[in-house]
Amino acid sequence: MQIFGYPLDLDPILLTLEVAGITTVVLLIIGTPIAWALSQMRSRARIFLEALVALPLVLPPTVLGFYLIIALNPNGEIAHLLKYVGYDGQLTFNKMGLIIGSVIYSLPFTVQPIMAAFEALPTQIVDAARTMRASFLDRFFTVIVPLARQGFLVGSVLTFAHTVGEFGVVLMVGGNIEGQTRTVSIAIFDHVESFEYAEAHMLSIIMVIFSMFVLMFVYALNRKLQIKQA
């Protein structure tokens, strides 16, 4: 594909969007129970678990990537375990590796906003639902999720955007295989390394515009979703 006479390689863009989309869905599914459990926890273990969830925020991505390569190597325990349940593929240097790395790296971006929303729930409304005979799952989906919707919105958008902008972990766990694990951020790095400034510009400006739109969308929706407290 050509734009303004310059070649634009769509593969990194499509791959990035796919990985970010899958990561967001996976994290919503596993991050929501984690956020709920943490928000309800009163014991001291909570301090440890909260720190564990937040760890990817402070660790250098290379540290995380390094441990992931070791943990996920084809002769490691995890790979063996997965063979038992029927998954025979590789876990690193392919799309699967990118997704696993992204899920772990972006975990706090999903869990923290949703947990904060759960903690700010108006308890009387949830209690009222219980007295109206709503079971846990019933009130979770009919009362708790709607009341915590801003947390879910912020959590999923941050997760998606953060995964799109990932570099270190992706490079360590995914390598830099064209068409398979070369995401936008790595492709830009490659272009700069080989003095292909026009191509680097093209991808970079797309990223800037994309990010700007995502943020504006979030702010607009956030305003619309505001819950009136009376």
Binding site: Q124, I125, R130, T131, M132, R133, A134, T142, Q229, A230
Partner: protein, 369 residues
Amino acid sequence: MFKGNLQLKLGNFMLDSGAFQFESAGVTVLFGRSGSGKSTLLRALSGLDRGTRGQLQLGDETWQAGKKALPVEARDIGFVFQTAALLPGKTVQSNLNYATQRVPKSRAQGPSFEEITQRVGITHLLNRSVDNLSGGERQRVAIARALLTRPRVLMMDEPLSALDWRAKTELLALIESVIADYQIPTLYITHAPIEVERLAHRVVFMAEGRITSIETLAEATTRIDSPLFTEEGPVSVLHGQLGAVDEDGLLPFTANPSSQNAEAFTFWLNRAEHTTSPIKNSPARLRILARDVALARERVEGISMLNQIPATVARIESETKSHRQAVFLTLHDGQTLIAEISHRSVHSMNLTQGQSVFALVKTAALLDN
């Protein structure tokens, strides 16, 4: 019959009710200062807090046995909180539907949706968003919602505390009539003595996380050290009926014709003080502060006070705090009226048990509309 002994720790507060037992029918008011544990006790009774321990039985059904608790969802309770706790952003109708959709078939009888919404006065609000309702309207919706849950027990945690004076008066009358008509056993929290006197059949007194006593309303209002009296002093509540307004605009309140002596008393009330129009011959209650009652040995002539009620001195008690004397008077139909007078007056009048006197009542308030 509620029977049990409950413990619940919330933050630094520890509820340890002690063994208790009281009839569930009618209205049971949990009364105490703020911080006495009445809200915590209600939460423990409702099962809303997982930390509740102890025993609780409603009739022969076990609600709590040690750590094991019947889930709230299975207790058939309707709960009205201090705030209306409605689902934000939704209409009144869909808030009410949330309750009706979850009622099991076995409990689906009782007054219809239309009757309840009409009764509570929210039919015109059904399509409005709950976000745009006034405090009083929101609490009405909350009451309708609790009724539509088809509860076996209605629990109300200071439902009027967040409302302004006018909404309070209207809603208190509504709650009173709804509870009486639908015959739902009710647990009601308040720290306002006036709400106790209007609603209660019995009072559970609480202090420092314990139940200190459980008394009938009559018992609670005829002892002068009752916690109900801490602010205004002793209060008497007389039962009687209203007559027709006379040409001077005065409204008579007389003893019930069914009592032994129907001619026992007639209070003349100033019509203007009672804004709502009373129905003739309807039963009513009159609330009289003991400090608004003076005593005379004979009927006093040449005095502006209209209400001079003949009575007999039943007993005289001293109030330890104020050094004043509470004189318990028996009216001719057997009801009790309390007069609060000074120690010196008791002496100078030479008041003794069994003596006939006249009670001069300065002001009285009608409790019912």
